[in-house]
């Protein structure tokens, strides 16, 4: 087969001096901010991080006590130092890595500042972040799969909403969460099929097609919810997937409670991460799928069926969104409420862009966005006076900054969004 010889040319990224300097300045500014935090913490104040999530005894670790003032000072110096090196010497291809390190330092400094004189259950917060991240990450995988094949999917939100409702309904009727999950996934894939037919077969603008699905699924779920689910409570009471500890791994401190002693959806997410990453970038199947997204005409010439590949990618995208949607009702809340996905599908889209259209990147971005969400909920408890809404906004702002190319432009598939016309 000649297909394996397709080489997808990528532009070699050249880091402009301006961008180096801007990045350096950003890092220095973050350092200065950390320093300002330290001014608010009195010497001798300690931040107490609890390292065992509540209600769990496996994977326990001793509490972590941090002297606030000293830690903040050290972090500030580190950040400013890295920033200065960035401005004057540059880290070359490590630039983005260094930037993320500085951002991580900043986040930690922020938490230390917020917790100074109090205590915070860090592992509890991280495990909340993972759970909040599940629908975002699965949504982002959904986006990666379809956009890598050249089909823009802004209907992730609608697919998730539909899956959430169908999962709750079928799960309640059959009193079986597995059948509920299956039905949820099928409903989402059905919507994906419609998206495929509209955008691949009828070649209508993919964003309009996505909007059709979003409006339709908002309408349908709200309609059925108002007509049946709210009136007959027995239709909206599905069983929830229980916590499944994995032997041995669940006992690892910190990591154990986060990833190996939780619910099925986290495991599905981790498996999907590995499978999609490997399949997309190390198999012939993935190469073909990406070829269709980058240069459909070339792929067609070499004998790849562009339409079939795109349909398959969109259906798989629906599969991922369906699992992500089912998480809302079968994995976390246990009932369906109108509009309960609350924009998670769109954050998933943002995570996909932030993660540069790769599963691994999307996973990282999704965790980060989940983390932002969980900080937002903790902020009110810690009483920092920062409105939670600003925390909740940050994923969107960060995505816009990434998209604008301030911290390195993502490389979207070249044929993303263009219908393919066979000639």
């Amino acid at each position: 087969m000649a297909t394996s010889t397709i080489v997808i040319h990528r532009k070699v990224e050249i880091i402009s001096p301006t961008r180096q300097r801007v990045t350096g300045i950003v890092e220095v500014l973050l350092g200065v901010l950390i320093f300002l935090f330290s001014r608010r913490a009195e010497p001798g104040m300690v931040a107490r991080f609890v390292m065992t999530p509540g209600g769990l005894d496996r994977g326990a670790a001793p509490d972590w006590i941090v002297p606030a003032y000293a830690t903040l000072l050290v972090l500030a110096i580190l950040a400013v130092g890295l920033g200065l090196v960035q401005i004057f010497r540059g880290f070359g291809r490590w630039m983005n890595l260094v930037l993320s390190v500085v951002v991580a330092l900043f986040v930690f400094a922020f938490l230390t500042w917020a917790t100074a004189g109090k205590s915070l259950n860090l592992v509890g917060m991280l495990s909340a972040a993972v759970l909040l991240g599940v629908p975002i990450i699965l949504g982002a995988f959904s986006g990666v799969l379809s956009e890598r094949a050249g089909v823009v999917n802004i209907a992730i939100e609608g697919m998730m909403l539909m899956a959430a409702m169908v999962g709750a309904l079928v799960g309640s009727v059959t009193k079986n969460m597995w059948i509920g999950l299956l039905a949820a996934v099928l409903s989402s894939m059905l919507l994906a099929l419609i998206h495929g037919v509209l955008s691949i077969h009828y070649k209508i603008n993919q964003i309009i097609s996505g909007t059709v699905i979003n409006i339709f699924s908002t309408g349908l779920t709200s309609f059925l919810s108002a007509k049946f689910l709210q009136t007959y409570q027995q239709l909206n009471n599905p069983p929830i997937f229980p916590r499944i500890p994995i032997p041995l791994l669940a006992d690892i401190p910190v990591i154990g409670p986060l990833f190996f002693n939780t619910n099925l959806f986290v495991y599905i997410m981790l498996i999907a991460l590995i499978v999609i990453q490997v399949a997309l970038f190390s198999t012939r199947w993935g190469l073909r799928l990406r070829a269709v997204g980058e240069h459909p005409k070339a792929a067609d010439t070499l004998g790849i069926n562009v339409f079939a590949t795109r349909y398959m990618a969109v259906l798989l995208s629906g599969l991922m969104a369906g699992i992500g949607g089912a998480f809302f009702t079968l994995g976390s809340v246990g009932r369906f409420d109108e509009m309960m996905t609350a924009g998670k599908g769109f954050i998933g889209l943002a995570a996909m862009i932030f993660g540069n259209w790769t599963p691994l990147g999307a996973f990282g971005a999704g965790l980060l966005f989940g983390f932002a969400d969980s900080i937002a909920t903790k902020l009110t408890i810690l009483g920092t006076g920062i409105p939670t809404q600003f925390m909740a906004m940050s994923p969107y702002i960060v995505t816009m900054i990434v998209l604008a190319g301030v911290v390195g432009r993502g490389q979207m598939p070249a044929a993303d969004g263009t219908p393919y016309e066979k000639e």
Binding site: L198, H201, K203, G343, F346, Q389, M393, L403
Partner: protein, 428 residues
């Protein structure tokens, strides 16, 4: 499958735009042309309603109960459900004809007003649709996909509310327009940012406007529970009631809500028509939208036009929000919009991105939304309208479906509206 959508010859389009030939030709063809452009939208609406009816029947418990008795009773129940639902939709949207006639015969002004109120209420419902639909249509014409109407609408509403609350002691003739203008500016800012980012960095406006939507939601949530909160609301995100002087006047005493905003919307529809089709600016915008490369060769400033179009589009969306605050709700809450932002995409497509078409489509959607409130009395949730709207949008966007269902021949020339190319089309 390529015969579904004839490819538009970009060069030809540009030539026609320059010489004005195509519009001349359109005018000459007259009624036949109008008929042909109306066939698909009308059939799309009809098909949407048919699917809606099927949906209502399938989810009706009465129908299932009747089928359990016998097939005949079942069919009768199906028929009865459809008639009842759409009768409710019709009278809810346009009023009860018998009652209107009786009211006019009695000559009692109060009774007349009450009888025609459903129509007036439909117009009230149509007003934000007109503004929002114009916003999307203006974007489409300029080759931009403004999917951020919802966020721009929220920012417009917030700005108008702020001016309506905090500015005091002005006469209504100044205060109301000022608040409305603030709303337009709020929306314009929210449109300007993605427009500017697209022009300067090539970041696609679709992603950025989606992101801006969510930033706007969170921001208004904060505003309404912080700086703009109503004292004593107990933490509910709702603003105080705006000053009397900031109100856009309603024509009749409550509960009739028909207001001046409707005519302002019509005036803006005309203004957008004039801007797009009668000015050089509009010509530039349309050319950039139809064919950016040709526009570049003709020496048009693409950057300026993108920013301008997004800003104006945002301003129109902001007006939709300002209108809802100043003329209808008189205070701001988070449930401000039942999805005007996404519905407006359907409006612009249904109206083929012409201001006149948008107004007609808005009247239809306003009537549907209003009529749905009457359907709720029959235990049909008004979300049925969203389902019908989504179907209409799908059928209008993919005329091939309608042509297949009704076996209509494919017209010789392309009739689809011009859109932006690909996701990454802007990053060159």
């Amino acid at each position: 499958m390529s015969e579904n959508k004839p490819k538009q010859d970009a060069g030809k389009v540009f030539l026609e735009e320059v010489t004005g030939q195509s519009e001349e030709a359109q005018r000459l063809k007259g009624w036949r042309k109008t008929g042909r452009t109306l066939v698909v939208p009308l059939l799309a609406i009809f098909t949407g309603l048919v699917f809606g009816a099927i949906f209502i029947v399938v989810t009706s418990e009465d129908v299932y109960a009747a089928f359990r008795v016998s097939f005949g009773t079942g069919m009768a129940a199906v028929w009865k459900t459809i008639i009842q639902s759409y009768q409710a939709l019709f009278t809810g949207a346009l009023g009860d004809p018998a009652r209107i006639v009786a009211a006019f015969q009695s000559g009692n002004p109060l009774e007349i007003r009450r009888a025609v109120n459903p129509i007036l209420e439909s117009l009230v419902n149509a007003t934000p649709y007109i503004f929002a639909g114009l916003a999307v249509a203006l974007g489409f014409r300029s080759g931009l996909f403004n999917i951020g109407v919802e966020g721009q609408l929220f920012m417009g509403a917030a700005a108008a509310t702020a001016v309506g609350i905090f500015v005091k002691g002005l006469p209504q003739i100044i205060h109301a327009p000022l608040a409305f203008l603030a709303g337009a500016l709020g929306g314009a800012l929210w449109g300007f940012i993605p427009g500017w980012l697209k022009a300067k960095t090539g970041a696609h406006e679709v992603i950025n406007t989606i992101m801006m939507n969510w930033i706007a939601f969170r921001l208004t949530e904060w505003l309404l529970s912080g700086p703009l909160t109503r004292p004593g609301s107990g933490g509910l995100p709702i603003s105080p009631i705006i000053e009397k002087s900031a109100e856009i006047p309603q024509f009749f005493p409550p509960p009739i809500r028909f207001h001046l905003g409707f005519f302002i919307a019509l005036a803006f529809a005309y203004a957008v028509h004039w801007l797009l089709f009668k000015t050089t600016w509009g010509f530039d915008l349309r050319t950039v939208g139809a064919n950016p490369n040709a526009a570049k060769y003709a020496g048009m400033n693409i950057t300026k036009n993108i920013v301008l179009a997004m800003t104006l589009s945002g301003a129109l969306a902001g007006m939709a929000g300002a209108n809802q605050i100043l003329a209808v709700n008189r205070s701001m809450a988070l449930g401000l919009s039942p999805g005007y932002g996404f519905d407006s995409i359907a409006l612009a497509l249904l109206g083929n991105s012409t201001p006149m078409g948008v107004v007609l489509a808005s009247l239809l959607f306003g009537a549907l939304r209003n009529g749905a409130t009457r359907m709720e009395l029959l235990y049909i949730p008004n979300d049925i309208i969203s389902i019908i709207q989504a179907l209409i949008l799908a059928f209008v966007a993919a005329p091939a479906i309608i042509r297949t269902i009704y076996r209509i021949r494919v017209p010789k020339e392309a009739e689809e509206a011009v859109f932006t190319g690909s996701w990454g089309g802007g990053s060159k």
